[in-house]
């Protein structure tokens, strides 16, 4: 009888908060499988949320009878996220995936990538208004980068205790770009503006330019925002491997094997910060709300900036393309393109939006770097 009691004694350690976390984990798994929302991350995060919220879970480091028992998820967290290794390695893969050709072909569109980072800085002020410490506010604001590795990097740099909620919000909203962006764009533009057609002339971009570009961006960003040089450096290193033409095998590995491997561990490791006591807090809801604000104002920033340019420009641009400046690639470009097609089935915006979308990737990292520079740790 005693043996049975001891066998089930751990069940008595279960509390309602842990059950709620199982439900949250279940919802994330459901969204990943059924709705195909960022399944590569939401599924591991959801499963991890269940794993770490089992009573006395051996997956995380615990103190039992005064003795510290190391858990593998905590070890992975300390070895891969606390030291910023996983997001950086992931950036090598992302850099190898991105073709900066459309951006090099039409560089002036890059300005929309900058404008669409408005949500980050706006949310920083909003989070401060709601009483968050500046370093926490900065970590929350970076959800608006629409860029997972940058969000993890910045949140981790500032050592915020809200890192779990921030990462869940960042990846969830990235998956929700097709739902979040269209109403904001429609609200800020008229039907006639959405119908504006834009000419596109493909320009030749030499291989030399493609090779020098990542080196140039690394040097420039490193000079302006030295704290972000690792982020931009790893992204551009991946791109250099892609463009150099002599490392195809490494480029393919970075794009597939490396990215998949890091993603596999990243998701489940993030769950270390989804333990019920820390995660189930009204603040988490507020962070999710502020994340949404960041995405909305990123979109608004890009669209309104395009409208501002139209006030002074003879050749009108379709203001919707400004919304593609957020970093969620390639979803944002596709969303704007499809909106254009809804208004005019022969309006082809994708060549513009893809260029702006990849500039958003660079701009979000620069924005993250500027935040690291502007706010003391």
């Amino acid at each position: 009888m005693d043996g049975l009691e001891s066998l089930f004694s751990n069940v008595l350690n279960l509390n309602i908060k842990q059950v709620i976390m199982w439900i949250i984990g279940g919802i994330l798994i459901y969204l990943a499988i059924k709705k195909k929302m960022e399944p590569t991350l939401l599924l591991p995060i959801g499963f991890g949320a269940i794993l770490v919220n089992l009573p006395m879970s051996g997956a995380i480091t615990q103190t039992v009878d005064g003795a510290v028992q190391e858990g593998p998820i905590s070890i992975l967290f300390n070895g891969g996220i606390a030291n910023e290794l996983f997001p950086l390695l992931l950036f090598v893969g992302i850099g190898a995936m991105i073709d900066f050709g459309p951006l090099l072909s039409n560089p002036k569109l890059m300005i929309f990538g900058a404008a669409a980072q408005f949500g980050i800085f706006f949310t920083l002020s909003m989070a401060s208004l709601f009483g968050f410490e500046l370093k926490d506010a900065a970590s929350i604001a970076i959800i608006g980068a629409a860029d997972g590795p940058t969000s993890i990097f910045v949140a981790n740099y500032f050592g915020t205790k809200y890192i779990g909620a921030i990462i869940v919000a960042a990846y969830s909203y990235m998956a929700l770009v097709p739902i979040v962006q269209p109403p904001v764009i429609k609200l800020l533009t008229t039907k006639n503006e959405r119908k504006i057609r834009m000419d596109y002339t493909a320009k030749n971009v030499s291989k030399t330019a493609r090779i020098i570009f990542p080196i140039f961006v690394t040097i420039l960003t490193g000079l302006v925002a030295p704290n972000a040089v690792a982020l931009i450096g790893f992204l551009m290193f991946g791109n250099l491997i892609r463009e150099c033409g002599v490392l195809d095998s490494l480029s393919n590995t970075a794009q597939s094997v490396l990215s998949n491997l890091i993603t596999l561990f990243l998701g489940i490791t993030i769950a270390e910060k989804m333990q019920a006591d820390a995660f189930l807090d009204p603040t988490t809801l507020l962070i999710l709300g502020l994340g949404l604000v960041a995405f909305i104002f990123d979109t608004a920033g890009g669209v309104l900036f395009a409208k501002l340019i139209n006030l002074f420009s003879k050749k009108k641009i379709n203001p919707m393309i400004g919304a593609a400046g957020i970093s969620a690639f390639p979803m944002s470009a596709r969303v704007v393109h499809k909106l254009g097609l809804q208004e005019d089935s022969s309006n082809f915006l994708l060549t513009h939006t893809i260029g702006i979308n990849v500039s958003g990737q660079i701009a979000s990292v620069i924005a993250g770097g500027l935040i690291l520079n502007l706010i003391a740790r």
Binding site: K35, E38, T40, L41, L90, I94, I98, D99, P102, L103, L104, S105, P107, M110, A114, A115, Q117, F121, L124, M126, L129, F130, G131, L134, G148, P149, M174, A175, Y200, A202, K203, N204, V205, S206, K207, T208, A209, I212, F213, F216, L220, T221, A225, L266, P282, T283, S327, A328, M331, R334, H337, F348, L350, T351, I354, Q361, A363, I366, L370, L374
Partner: protein, 96 residues
């Protein structure tokens, strides 16, 4: 949750500096790219590969019987194939 207007006001200069900073860096990047392109324009002409359409352009060269297409036509074709034929609302982002 408390409303902290002092912290909000303190954060405004950071917001301003951040926005200004990102526009300055982007402007320098744009100028840099134009210079880079100008310096390498002869090479680009010699290579003759319009951006983003290189694989398709090569495919056309390989088939002399194929009708002549502009880069925009090729992009439209690829876009139709890659983007429009897919009906998934939530697509996995590369932006991991």
């Amino acid at each position: 949750m408390t409303i902290n207007t002092d912290a909000f006001l303190d954060s405004l200069p950071i917001m301003g500096s951040g926005l200004l900073g990102i526009f300055i860096v982007t402007a320098v990047l744009i100028i840099g790219i134009y210079i880079l392109r100008a310096l390498t324009s002869k090479k680009a002409e010699a290579e003759g590969t319009p951006d983003a359409a290189a694989p398709e352009a090569e495919a056309v060269k390989a088939d002399p019987a194929a009708p002549k297409q502009t880069a925009l036509d090729l992009m439209k074709e690829r876009e139709k194939k890659d983007f429009l034929e897919s009906d998934d609302t939530f697509t996995i982002s590369n932006d991991l």
